[in-house]
Symmetry: C2
Subunit: 238 residues, 2 copies
C-alpha cells in the first residue's frame, strides 16, 4: 500500500475480517490508538475518515469510534442537488391535489409491514405536471402516517410536495429514501389522467421516505407516462 493511512485502513479492515475486531465494538480513543500504532493522530483521523466514508465506522464526539459494518462500500455520489431531484421531480413541475382521505393500513398493499403506526394514514391523491402544461404526466398517491396527518390543511395552500410540507411544518429532515421502479400496465383510472390507453406500459415508482432516526415519514406510489417521464441517474464513482 502506498499511503500510511490507506495501510491503516487495510489493517483495521483486516482485523475486522479476521474477527479480531467485531461489529458493535468501539476502537480506542484517537490519541491512545495513534500512540499504540505509532502514527500521528492526524494520520489516524484520515484513515478513520475513509472508513467512515465507506460505512465501516461511526464517530461521535465523546462516544468514541464504533465499528458499524464489516463491509466497506464503494462510494457513489448522485449528481442531484436535492431530494426533490433524487425523487425525480424536476424543479419546474407542480403538484396538484385532487383529494385526501383517511385510510386504514389494510387497504393499501404498499403499506403492509412498513410501520406499526396507528391504523390510519392520510392518503393524498394528486397529479404532477410540467409548469404551464395542462396535462399531467403522473398520478401520485402519498401516504402519511397519523403522526404527520396535521399537515392536511397546509397542503392545500401551495403546490409543494408533501415531503417538503412535512419537512417545514414539523421541522424534520429526510434521512433516507428507499425507492423501487417497475414497469406496469397502467390502471384505467390513472390512464385517463395522464392520457394513456388503459393497460399501456407505464412507469411505477414506489418510495419510502425515512427520517434520520429511521421513522417513516411518507410512502409514495406514483404512476408515470412512459414517454413524458423517465428516471435519469448520473452517478460518479469515487
Amino acid at each position: 500500500m502506498k499511503n500510511l493511512y490507506s495501510q491503516v485502513c487495510e489493517d483495521i479492515l483486516g482485523q475486522i475480517r479476521a474477527g479480531e475486531l467485531r461489529v458493535g465494538e468501539r476502537l480506542p480513543p484517537e490519541a491512545e490508538y495513534a500512540a499504540t500504532l505509532g502514527i500521528s493522530r492526524s494520520t489516524l483521523r484520515m484513515a478513520f475518515a475513509e472508513l467512515e466514508e465507506a460505512g465501516v465506522l461511526k464517530r461521535r464526539k465523546r462516544a468514541g469510534t464504533e465499528i458499524i459494518s464489516d463491509r466497506p462500500q464503494r462510494r457513489f455520489s448522485m449528481a442531484t442537488s436535492g431530494v426533490a431531484e433524487l425523487l425525480s421531480l424536476g424543479r419546474d413541475t407542480e403538484f396538484s391535489i385532487t383529494s385526501t382521505r383517511q385510510v386504514p393500513t389494510e387497504e393499501i398493499p404498499q403499506l403492509a409491514g412498513l410501520s406499526s403506526e396507528t391504523g390510519h394514514w392520510l392518503e393524498v391523491s394528486g397529479s404532477r405536471r410540467m409548469q404551464g402544461e395542462s396535462r399531467a404526466f403522473s398520478v401520485n398517491r402519498v401516504y402519511v402516517p397519523a403522526r404527520f396527518a396535521a399537515i392536511e390543511p397546509v397542503l392545500h395552500e401551495g403546490r409543494r410536495s408533501v415531503f417538503q410540507t412535512i419537512e417545514e411544518t414539523f421541522d424534520v429532515r429526510i434521512g433516507r429514501v428507499a425507492q423501487s421502479v417497475r414497469a406496469v400496465a397502467c390502471p384505467a383510472e390513472d390512464a385517463k389522467v395522464i392520457g394513456l390507453e388503459p393497460g399501456a406500459p407505464a412507469l411505477r415508482i414506489e418510495a419510502q421516505l425515512y427520517l434520520s432516526d429511521e421513522r417513516l415519514m411518507e410512502v409514495s406510489v406514483a404512476t408515470f407516462h412512459p414517454e413524458r417521464f423517465q428516471v435519469h441517474n448520473d452517478v460518479k464513482i469515487k
Copy 2:
C-alpha cells in the same frame, strides 16, 4: 457560521454566486490562498474537501483547484457495494452471450451523438438470468467502442459482465454512469426471450458507462421482465 472552514466554504460559494469567481476558473494555490485568507493551509484544505465533495471544486495535483460548478449538491450516497450493484445486476445473476457483431453508429439510435469514435462498434447481444434458473429476465445489448473491441474473444470465456471484462482486460476503471429508466412496450424479438407477450409493459434501462477521463467505455440497452425485475435504490442523505 460555527466553524472556520464552513465559513470559508460559504465565502467561496458566495463569491461564485456573486460572479466574482466563475466556473472554469482556478483558485490560487493552497499555500498562497491560505495566506491571503489569513488561515492555515489545513483549514483551507478542509473547506476545499467539503466543496469538492459537493461537486463545486475539482482538485488535481499540480493542476490546481478548479471551480467546476456553481451549484453545491446535497450529498446522497447509494447503499451499494459495487458498480454491478449500481447497475442493478445482483451478484447471483449470470450473463450469456448470444451473438456479437460489428455495427456502424448510424444503425443504433442510442449511440447517436455520444462519441466521435470511429464509425464501428462491437455489439454484444445476450441475456441475463438468475443463477440456476432457465428463463432469462432481461435482454441486453451492449455497444463497445472500437478502442475496446479486442475484448470480443475474452468475452466468451466467462459469464462476466462486459464492463467487468473491459475493466480487467484494459486495466481501466469506471468513473461515471449515466442511466435512464423507462417503461416500454416489449419488442416482439425480446418478448420471446424473457417470456412476455409482445407489446406488454417492460422496463428499459439505457446506460452509458464512462471512464474517469470521461471517455466512453460502453453503452448498454437492456429490456427487463417487469415482474421479475425492478430497480431498487436505497439512498442515504447526508
